[in-house]
Symmetry: C2
Subunit: 402 residues, 2 copies
């Protein structure tokens, strides 16, 4: 018998969203080499890594250059020093997580993609629509059936569980990517109840929790009673501390979480110790520094910078009469592709026109799912200069539209 590829890859819709965005920008730039592009598409940060974290990396680099300080293979689950620091961070939300239930990884995207390995291939997936495309693409690659819960203006882009909803593994993201919408404790509790009653498992993506400032918004699903019996949580240093290029995340799998009498934590441990070999020691020391008082302070300065960027964009949209959500407790702004119901464009048309007329690159809402059609995502992660400039250009763009 000849080797065969995974046919489910053929069911994927075109290229990965951000690759397609990149392709279109490259094509635009080739045609317009002199045009000045402002990138607000991919959710990448721009603030440099704070000095205290740089220093931690340099110390770690020096350390592995010495006989006594050399570090080879670390624990696949991550060093205890970092798992304890993460546990301390959780304690700040009033959540007790034992370090044994924390798994350090090279980033949330890896964990979000790989976690499917430990579940039955027949298990289906429920996502909200629009949705971060990696959840869906990963599920499709594994041949899983994907169900969608519509996130609409009517439900504030926050669908709630309903009797009869399908999907064995439920992906929830709050603060949400791409809509910037945030769940209250009460909303999240409804999902936890639903999952427990129906034997579902929630994967809670907390990648943007660091943007939360309202006390009514939970940072972790484990703030909700009963969540340990039905949920795992994935988080990242990417947005909190600018680690998009340094690669570090963590996944919490409570030892209380069982599926069919089997410990999900133990399976994840087995998966990670077989198909992963730990995160760079240098990166783990960098991540540890994030949780020092000096680190927390430096990180907060950057988060505040991005929050102000979000406010600049949000104020501009309000001024222009463009309906939008997000930007509060979240780094993403989710806007309609027009100033009124009459002139709303479809997402890729808006993408193309915006690049063409202003040089601003955002992310077409339809790239996040059917429910994103007619919407567009802006990020607050640009530099202040570019954010102010983008707001100015968009002001003119929308003025011309009316």
């Amino acid at each position: 018998m000849a080797v065969r590829t995974n046919a489910h890859f053929q069911e994927l819709k075109g290229s990965y969203l951000f690759s397609e965005v990149g392709r279109r920008i490259a094509a635009f730039q080739e045609k317009n080499p002199d045009r000045d592009i402002i990138r607000m598409g991919i959710g990448d940060v721009t603030r440099p890594i704070p000095q205290v974290i740089v220093d931690a990396m340099k110390r770690a680099a020096d350390e592995v250059g010495t006989k006594e300080g050399f570090h080879g293979y670390g624990p696949e689950q991550g060093y205890l020093f970092l798992r304890e620091a993460v546990a301390g961070y959780y304690q700040g939300f009033g959540v007790t997580v034992p370090p044994e239930d924390i798994f350090i990884s090279d980033g949330a995207k890896s964990d979000l993609g790989n976690l499917g390995d430990i579940f039955d291939a027949e298990c289906s997936v429920l996502v909200t629509d629009p949705v971060y495309p990696a959840y869906v693409d990963s599920a499709v690659m594994s041949g899983r059936k994907v169900f969608y819960a519509a996130a609409t203006v009517e439900n504030g882009f926050l669908p709630l569980p309903e009797e009869g909803m399908q999907g064995d593994i439920i992906f929830l993201c709050s603060p949400n990517n791409p809509t910037g919408a945030v769940m209250t404790r009460e909303m999240l509790a409804q999902w936890v109840d639903f999952a427990r009653k129906n034997g579902r498992l929630i994967v809670f993506d907390a990648a943007y929790e660091c943007f939360i400032r309202d006390s009514g918004v939970p940072h972790s699903i484990f703030e909700i009673e009963g969540a340990r019996e039905c949920a795992m949580e994935i988080c990242s240093f990417s947005k909190k501390a600018g680690f998009t290029g340094l690669r570090c995340g963590y996944t919490v799998v409570p030892h209380e979480l069982m599926a069919g009498g089997i410990s999900v934590r133990d399976l994840w441990f087995r998966r990670q110790s077989t198909r992963f070999n730990g995160t760079s020691y240098i990166t783990q020391r960098a991540a540890e520094a994030v949780f020092t008082p000096e680190g927390e302070e430096a990180v907060e300065v950057n988060l505040e910078y991005y929050r102000e960027n979000a406010a600049i964009l949000s104020d501009m949209l309000t001024e222009c009469g463009v309906k939008h959500t997000g930007g509060k407790n979240a780094p993403y702004i989710w806007m309609q592709c027009g100033t009124s119901e009459e002139n709303v464009m479809d997402s890729w048309e808006f993408f193309d026109r915006l690049v063409e007329e202003t040089g601003i690159v955002g992310t077409p809402g339809s790239g996040f799912g059917k429910g994103g059609e007619g919407y567009f995502r802006l990020t607050a992660f640009s530099t202040r200069k570019n954010t102010v400039e983008a707001a100015e250009r968009m002001r003119r763009f929308f003025a011309a539209m009316k």
Copy 2:
């Protein structure tokens, strides 16, 4: 329907080999807190990272701490500067690999585990026995049927393809882990011919190629004609440059490699851009430094150190009359668990007795598969002091055995 775990995980044999080794050492140390342990079990290196590589990491850390030098998300496939450096390294063996076919990862273990994602779940796997357990465990987790080709004294621990051998995906590792045996060009060519004639795909694990000194031993499967049409290759900086704690590897998937008319390279690209987000920028700069003249020189000093360790162990075994292979062109020594056919023990018994009587930890051959029973793996990666001390202790151990 309730969420269900992947039942194939229950088919795994106990814990991952090196976790079991770790468990037994911990138990031994608890009972014997004063005993001095020499670890030659897990294949972890001990030489510190060369200064030129440390400097590269520190420069990169400083860089990301500045506005101008900040690096966020890199290309999922790895930075071109590193892919070009790897291509240059291949050129040194006379192999031309375009940078587009090179994928930088966080280590060979991740790639070896994850590559199954792109192949049909029904595809079976062929491995040699004994074998690096991650190949088998990964295949079992995915529900793949695993076939074994016996590596025995009779075939010099290098099984060759035979008519009727099954297994759609063939894992080959040379220099071999655990046996230290190396394939000649002619042997590897037989596998390439077999794969091409029978529509199989070879995954060539070249993690130990840096130990090769004999010109008759290929560093890369792509030295063999026709290999680009049937093979992908996985390599690592772990052993070459001591990156076990820094995490970097690379996988070459030639654009010529097709399966059922589909480009395997394109599927791997899609997999990696969906379930992975690139390797740490700091680590990639470290890896780049490995290929500078100063880096190559420093790395060679360390490799030579390990080669001398291998010679010390091999000479001791010869002196004691213990049959063994490896240690030449390879960092592993594969020895019989006794001084003659009469006193050969089974592998775990030998493991326990060796720890008990000498404090030396090696890896039981049976942990690498049925064919490893009665054998034991030693590594050359220890410090010189410990290697010399271990050789002395084993000399006494074997003398008492006769």
